[in-house]
Amino acid sequence: MKTRIVLYIIFLLLAFSKSSFSNDQELENKINKNLRCLICQGQSIYDSQSDFAESMKLVVKQKIESGMSEEEIYSFFKIQYGEWILYDPQFNTKNFALWLLPILVFLVGGIIILTKFGVLKKRL
């Protein structure tokens, strides 16, 4: 009975450590995919094997291990390199037009199409 309990605990511990490992790995990959390579600027560091991309991957890994959250890691890179380093930039005063323009074009386009086909007129 005792051995069974011990084995059960070992199994649980192993399962837990495995899942925490894979969580860290997933987070690392997610962050690496969202950071721009400094040398080959069209690639993320996840895809790049340049020296600086490899160093950045190590920095990300180190920061995750030290307990930093995803947001904290992004803000570290933002302070060093600016918003440009992120592939998924946040909504701010400099880029609001880029975020809003497609929605605006979609809405205006929609209204034009609807008026052209007379759908709006019929309704009104």
Binding site: L38, F52, S55, Q80, Y81, G82
Partner: protein
């Protein structure tokens, strides 16, 4: 009337698009930071190239008005081009130059210094490249000029050439 209005709006739209592309494509596509002056140089602890002993930047950056932190490697060709300027700065200006040897083999680095002269006050090694990312470097070579408060007052991405050399001299002689 409606048709003319339609034509005008297309022409305006095309002109607008043309100018956006014209200015957008004229701009440099290599990003350089604008507000680096507010950043303080982090206190990194790295190993000395010669003695291999752990050395912190806080121990080195003491007592001088200006420091130039230069990231270099023996395998980097532009580093050879900028090296004579570093030697000149060492000889003809009060600035102290600290080297960060990026992902290099120790023997090759020493050979490089033997061949081209050593302008550095201290050389620290960055074998895995982490320190260079911590200070926000973009590549090799790169130079940062720090004032006595350890604030980065100038960042030079790429090799130092005649123009940048003069800019450094002007900055430290202010």
């Amino acid at each position: 009337m409606k048709n003319r209005y339609y034509k005008y709006s297309i022409v305006i739209f095309l002109i607008f698009t043309f100018f956006i592309f014209y200015y957008g494509l004229k701009e440099k596509n290599f990003y350089t930071p604008e507000d680096i002056s507010i950043k303080k140089f982090p206190n990194l602890i790295l190993n000395d190239l010669y003695t291999n002993s752990e050395t912190s930047f806080d121990d080195i950056l003491v007592g001088n008005n200006y420091y130039l932190v230069n990231i270099w490697a023996s395998w980097c060709l532009p580093c050879r081009e900028e090296h004579p300027y570093l030697v000149q700065l060492k000889k003809n200006s009060p600035i102290k130059i600290i080297g960060i040897n990026y992902k290099d083999k120790r023997d090759n680095a020493l050979k490089f210094l033997d061949e081209y002269e050593n302008p550095y006050l201290t050389i620290l090694t960055d074998n895995n490249g982490i320190a260079s990312i911590e200070i926000g470097a973009y590549g090799v070579p790169e130079s940062l000029i720090l004032n006595k408060e350890k604030k980065i007052i100038k960042k030079i991405i790429g090799p130092i050439d005649r123009k940048k050399f003069n800019e450094i001299k002007e900055l430290i002689n202010k």
